[in-house]
């Protein structure tokens, strides 16, 4: 057992920090909560790509760096710490590239991976449908074979990144007669096609990061199929483990944590800094405790992945835990700000650029995205604890 990172890893962390601090100093962007999913900044993504920080864990033969998942965790941890606008490449880097490496044909690898590495694939995740949420295998969007093509018909919803996407990763039904989870396939294709239309969904923060995406007779080449036909559901279960396992499930609103600590030290109430109020101290310390426990969960997952194992129940556990922390942080931040906590980012006198307000509302979705906490607890109970299904 050794909880230390290697010297190279410490150096790498410093390199990432220096880069991000340099960006902030140049005024290129401001740290913000949810920037990994809402901060669409193609220029930033280009610069990250130039640092070779996309595809960090992919094998070198595919243009990756062949580095460990712990290294990638260090990178994403710092991106989230600084609230960097990494949304353009986050999904492609996190799970799509890996899926192509794992399931793609040689031709697909040759075509798709360089594009992801260059930070040019802004991917939308086309999974949920109006009647297929937690029960994803009930999806109805169809992919019907037609000569050398598939024809896509149907509707996706809650499609993250849908408003900015130029590519979509789509799960669709390819065999309507098979048992529901045995007739699903995965596709990856450009979205500038006739018949694709996107309707943004405004969330309770007033922001737009998920969308409805409609497919009407959309013709895509057969080469868009990723992996085995009708095995898509099994492939995606594995991908979801990666989708759930990252540091964004603990640090999506980390800039708020640093901001509220700073605020408590600098803001006086009745002549004393808030940070000297025993209740405020206890709240902040408890958040720190919960955060550090979550960090251990996250590093454990990276190590599981470095052993070559998919993070299965571990990612369910850490996602439930981490998102609960993020929600606790958002709520506690408003409580510490007191009456000021209710002010919206646009309001006169709003402290901390309205981060607490935004994050409080935004964090309600954290325990729903990528598997609701309830579904994940079921997974944990069945797979780790081996409790019976019936």
């Amino acid at each position: 057992m050794d909880f230390r990172l290697s010297e190279e890893q410490d150096k790498f962390r410093q390199e990432v920090r220096d880069f991000l601090e340099g960006e902030i100093k140049q005024g290129l962007w401001e740290p913000s909560c949810d920037a990994w999913i809402m901060g669409h900044n193609p220029e930033f993504t280009k610069r990250v790509s130039q640092k070779d920080w996309i595809g960090l864990t992919w094998p070198k033969e595919y243009g990756g760096q062949g580095r460990s998942y712990v290294d990638r965790l260090i990178l994403t941890e710092e991106m989230l710490r600084y609230g960097a606008p990494a949304a353009c490449h986050w999904f492609a880097d996190r799970q799509i590239g890996g899926a192509v490496v794992h399931y793609g044909t040689d031709q697909q690898k040759k075509e798709l991976l360089p594009m992801i590495l260059k930070g040019e694939a802004y991917v939308g995740l086309g999974m949920s449908e109006p009647d297929a949420g937690s029960d994803l295998a009930s999806l109805k969007t169809k992919a019907t074979e037609d000569g050398d093509d598939f024809i896509i018909d149907g509707q996706k919803t809650w499609t993250s990144g849908g408003g900015n996407m130029n590519w979509i990763y789509l799960v669709a039904r390819t065999d309507p007669d098979a048992v529901k989870h045995k007739g699903i396939s995965e596709f990856f294709f450009k979205t500038d096609l006739p018949g694709v239309s996107v309707t943004p969904i405004e969330d309770i923060t007033g922001g737009v990061h998920f969308n409805e995406v409609f497919f009407e007779n959309v013709r895509i080449p057969k080469t868009s199929l990723i992996g085995e036909r009708n095995r898509g559901f099994y492939q995606i279960l594995n991908q979801l483990d990666y989708e759930r396992s990252g540091m964004e499930r603990l640090m999506a609103n980390y800039p708020l944590f640093e901001a509220v600590i700073k605020y408590s030290k600098e803001t006086k109430q009745n002549g004393k800094p808030l940070a000297e109020d025993p209740l405020v101290r206890a709240k902040l310390a408890q958040l720190k405790i919960e955060f550090e426990i979550g960090r251990l969960h996250m590093y454990r997952i990276a190590m599981v992945m470095d052993e070559g194992r998919a993070p299965n129940w571990e990612s369910s556990m850490s996602k439930v835990y981490g998102t609960a922390f993020e929600q606790h942080l958002a709520g506690a931040a408003i409580e510490i700000l007191g009456l000021y906590g209710q002010l919206s980012p646009e309001s006169k006198r709003v402290p901390m650029r309205g981060m607490a307000y935004h994050s409080y509302l935004s964090s309600k979705g954290y325990s729903l995205q990528a598997g609701s906490s309830e579904v994940l607890k079921n997974i944990l109970a069945l797979r780790k604890l081996e409790l019976p299904n019936q």
């Binding site: 101290r281 310390a285 405790i289 454990r300 409790l387 019976p388």
Partner: protein
């Protein structure tokens, strides 16, 4: 970074679990708890024979030269088995302190006695103030010729009823001084308190107890930072025990949920029970990860004030959540005196308040955060 146990640690853990499962069924725990001594001399001898007392002490003191992290594995299994007795007091509270700050002569004299199982030690730190702060110490030690004379009342002293030696923290001229006191010295009277964990916490009254100056442990008047280290080490040790305690409670609960049928199906197939179990497992893993991290840091000698405080604050509250759910899932059978669950319930509560509860450690974390 590597979170895996070494092969040796795996072996030690498995061996400890097997030995304790064999030698210490709950009937034996009950018998020991109800005995006057509060420990089994026979088991004590066997543990010494297995090398458990001296596990983390150097070979020249009769030990095995292993680390505090290795010891953590043992403590976890002791927590799982609800081992009653003075192991923690002797090894974690006292042995390490002597190893840390004792003179060569003191180490030569006392550590082999600990390794061999010949002597039982404890630490008399807390007082009626029930505080882990320096200001909580009122017991005085006054210099008189070649001796000090100790007077005062220590409270919540574990295993003092059977201890051969007591490490005492007392107030001297300019600070706190630690002493190694022969428990048979005239002027010491011990009363066993009745506790929730059924362990032997004692009131120990020192009435002009004479202690030779040679028995000062560490520097006179400079003892408080050492006491803080003792509390820190003990808090980590407790976290390891607590990990074993709630892991076992979880294991028992999952087994029960698989077996117990209602409405014609195992209750573990109901999602509410599954979610409870998932919550318990998450708390157990968080407790273990943070306990191991703190134990590893103590082991390699890194500064770990914050990590220890995080681990103990977390463990204290996580244990309460886990035990609450364990009871809820066990239903009425779990609140019967003949069911094993109560051993864990009682110990988890005592462990929560020992060596700093969550509030105590949150304040440490707050200071470390610069608040």
């Amino acid at each position: 970074m590597n979170l895996a146990l070494s092969e040796e640690q795996e072996m030690l853990k498995t061996m400890a679990r097997d030995v304790l499962a064999d030698k210490l069924p709950k009937t034996a725990v009950k018998e020991i708890e109800e005995s006057e001594e509060g420990y089994s001399a026979e088991l004590w001898k066997e543990m010494a024979g297995l090398g458990w007392m001296g596990l983390a002490f150097p070979e020249k003191y009769g030990g095995s030269g292993m680390s505090f992290l290795d010891l953590a594995m043992l403590l976890e299994e002791m927590g799982r088995a609800c081992l009653p007795g003075p192991y923690f007091s002797t090894v974690v509270l006292s042995g390490f302190t002597i190893l840390d700050i004792g003179t060569d002569g003191q180490k030569d004299e006392y550590l082999p006695k600990i390794s061999s199982g010949e002597a039982i030690f404890t630490l008399a730190l807390t007082e009626p103030s029930a505080s882990y702060k320096e200001s909580g110490i009122g017991t005085k030690a006054a210099a008189e010729g070649d001796s000090y004379v100790i007077s005062g009342t220590k409270l919540f002293v574990p295993d003092a009823n059977v201890a051969d030696y007591i490490l005492v923290a007392a107030r001297t001229d300019k600070g706190i001084t630690l002493f190694i006191v022969d428990a048979k010295s005239p002027g010491i009277s011990t009363t066993v308190l009745k506790t929730i964990a059924n362990d032997k916490l004692c009131e120990v009254v020192f009435d002009k107890v004479k202690v030779p100056k040679d028995n000062v442990l560490g520097e006179p008047d400079q003892g408080w930072p050492e006491v803080e280290k003792i509390i820190q080490r003990a808090a980590v040790g407790k976290c390891c025990e607590m990990t074993g305690c709630i892991q076992q409670a979880l294991d028992m609960t999952v087994e029960y949920a698989k077996d117990r049928k209602q409405y014609g199906r195992p209750i573990g197939s109901f999602q509410v029970i599954q979610h409870y179990c998932a919550d318990m497992a998450t708390d157990v893993d968080g407790t273990r990860l943070s306990a191991y991290q703190a134990a590893w840091m103590v082991s390699v000698g890194l500064p770990c004030t914050q990590e220890v405080a995080i681990a103990k604050a977390w463990a204290g509250e996580a244990c309460q959540r886990v035990m609450a759910l364990a009871h809820q899932i066990h239903g009425a059978i779990g609140v019967t005196i003949d069911h094993d669950l109560q051993y864990y319930t009682r110990r988890a509560k005592a462990a929560e308040v020992s060596f700093g509860d969550a509030s105590f450690h949150r304040e440490v974390v707050a200071r470390e955060m610069g608040l």
